[in-house]
């Protein structure tokens, strides 16, 4: 009932194309994350769903209605803004109550619903305060409460966590996830933080320069990236992308060092993707290849080792008790089962059976 469909949506300002003929189907009650770097078009897309921007082309459907001509107030959506958009001159109570007040909801009902929403975000003690007397995290929760006080068809969230400090972000993320599972309303969430995307989403749409690069579950995006951009964007640290070519069933780096076996025909101009977790570190001479350490980082929970591979560098994750020095030589194994191949020119993933 509350699905959202975007059919061939385009948004153009003079010469600049923010969203380029994209289509997307969001299922009822799904938590969909629009993920991408600044300027990729994710916020513009969401604003077109909200009605704050008009598509240059294409249709926006919410439920059974095509809403292109509808004002935001008639679309029955609720939105949480990046800077919260709280009404500075109203108390927290009045802020949360505003969507109900504007629709003429009777006072008793408004009271009850505001109190319930405040409970859900743990703000009951702050109902009389004004926004300027609240911390960042508290303001964010007011914005959330204001969104959940109604039961709209769709929730829209525009980078709601990006203005919070790191620790708060982690705890708010858990709260958001908990709430969204409880409320079961279709949610569209915009972020540039891939950790948020992985943790919160049912499905993720990775965007770049106005085009959706891949649409899939967090699993799909992480383990089965469709192109180099997605592969490099998801995961921390970023996936190693090594330039080279394929000869005789082996991937050979650009400096002609054979690295690992791949089941593909010979090809030039290829990029091998391998995650830091899938490179093992050992004493010199024991593994596939010996490399010199460019830098060693002790992260506490694990260690990261950046090694010089000819002209390129790779990162490997070591276990937390590993200790190495800069300049030391170690050997590495590349786990052949977890490699990815990409065409260096187009960036598209080369899949194993594509041997034509």
């Amino acid at each position: 009932m509350a699905e959202v469909r975007l059919n061939n949506i385009t948004k153009r300002w003079d010469d600049f194309v923010a969203v380029d003929n994209q289509s997307l189907d969001i299922r009822d009650r799904e938590f969909l994350v629009l993920l991408g770097p600044s300027g990729c078009g994710k916020t513009t897309t969401m604003r077109m769903i909200a009605g704050l921007e008009e598509p240059t082309d294409g249709e926006v459907w919410i439920g059974d209605n095509m809403v292109n001509d509808d004002l935001p107030k008639d679309r029955d959506v609720a939105m949480v803004f990046q800077n919260y958009g709280l009404y500075p001159h109203m108390s927290v109570f009045d802020n949360i109550a505003y969507p109900l007040k504007v629709r003429g909801t009777p006072k008793a009902e408004t009271d009850a619903r505001v109190k319930r929403a405040a409970e859900q975000v743990e703000l009951t003690a702050f109902l009389d305060r004004k926004p300027r007397a609240l911390s960042g995290g508290q303001r964010q929760r007011v914005a959330l409460a204001r969104a959940i006080v109604r039961t709209p068809k769709v929730f829209l969230m525009d980078e709601p966590l990006s203005n919070l400090d790191a620790k708060l972000r982690v705890s708010m993320r858990a709260e958001l996830k908990h709430l969204s599972r409880e409320l079961k309303i279709t949610t569209i969430y915009v972020t540039h933080d891939q950790i948020e995307a992985m943790s919160l989403a049912d499905r993720v749409a990775v965007m770049r320069d106005g085009v959706i690069q891949q649409l899939g579950t967090p699993d799909d995006i992480y383990n089965d990236p469709a192109n180099m951009f997605v592969a490099g964007f998801i995961g921390s640290p970023a996936m190693n992308l090594i330039e080279g070519s394929i000869k005789d069933g082996q991937f050979v780096t650009a400096d002609s060092t054979p690295l690992v076996a791949v089941g593909s025909r010979d090809r030039a101009n290829v990029v091998l993707g391998i995650r830091a977790d899938d490179i093992e570190i050992g004493d010199p001479g024991k593994g596939d290849l010996d490399v010199e350490i460019y830098s060693f980082e002790n992260m506490g929970e694990n260690t990261l080792l950046t090694a010089q591979l000819g002209q390129q560098r790779v990162i490997a994750r070591g276990e937390r008790h590993l200790r190495k020095e800069q300049g030391e030589v170690v050997s590495i194994w590349v786990n052949a089962a977890h490699t990815y191949l990409f065409d260096n020119e187009t960036g598209i993933r080369i899949r194993g059976d594509d041997d034509a």
Binding site: P72, F81, Q82, N83, G85, Y87, Y98, V102
Partner: protein, 290 residues
Amino acid sequence: MKDNTLKYLLVMPAVLVVFATAIWPLIESLRLSFTVGRLNRPGSLDQYLGWENYSWAMLYEPAFWNSVQVTAIYTVVTVGLTTLLALGLAMLLVPGGRLRSGVQTLLILPFAMSPALIGVSFRFMFNPEFGLFDAFFGVLIPPLADVSWLANPTLAFSVCVMADVWGWIPFLTLVLIGGLASIPRDTIEAAQVDGAGGWRVFRDVTLPQLLPVLAVVIILKSIFSLKTFDQIYMLTNGGPGTATQTLSHYIYFNGMKYGQIGYASSVAWLMVIPMIFLTYAYAKFVFRKR
């Protein structure tokens, strides 16, 4: 040289100028207000009569109260009209685009026109024979077609108001545009998504946030309205009769035309009273913590 001595040296020239040109005359004019002060009677400038000038003005002089009334009505009407119209124009211009920046530049031009010139211009426009506005209003409101605007007390007053409003709208509009632009856009968008239509958004979200700037605008305009002289002088010269004689004009008339500078000074100082309140209010906005 040490900073300590330097800083007083730096300030000295300006302080001297301000003292000589502003502070001293203020004190002297206060002194004069207690004297007989006839321009054509030498020695009268040192003849003291206590509060007599003040009591004469307030108790026995209907012309004084007339100018108080004229000034009060003039101020209230011009401030109200100008603020409302400027707010309307600012709301129209805020959405932006190419039209807006062009118009903003145009709005600066009337500032360069001195009030005296505006007075002259409006006197021209309301001339009964060839005035453009006179003809325009004659067409719009037929009963006014044969009337000489500047000869009728009420109409002359309204011409003065029109000239004032015309002259100040551009400036107030620019200030209000600045104020409106500083309202965070997401509070407005949040209200739109929350379900508020155009008028409600304005009333519930825009206006409350605009209040500080609006207050500055109203105080500033009140001060300017109270002081108004140049325009009135060139438009109606206080007439017909004394229908448009504001306090400034009354003071000028009594001081320079009748030579009663003692009396005129006392009226001038009576005029300072509302100014003190307004200045205090304005200072609060200028010195407020950000």
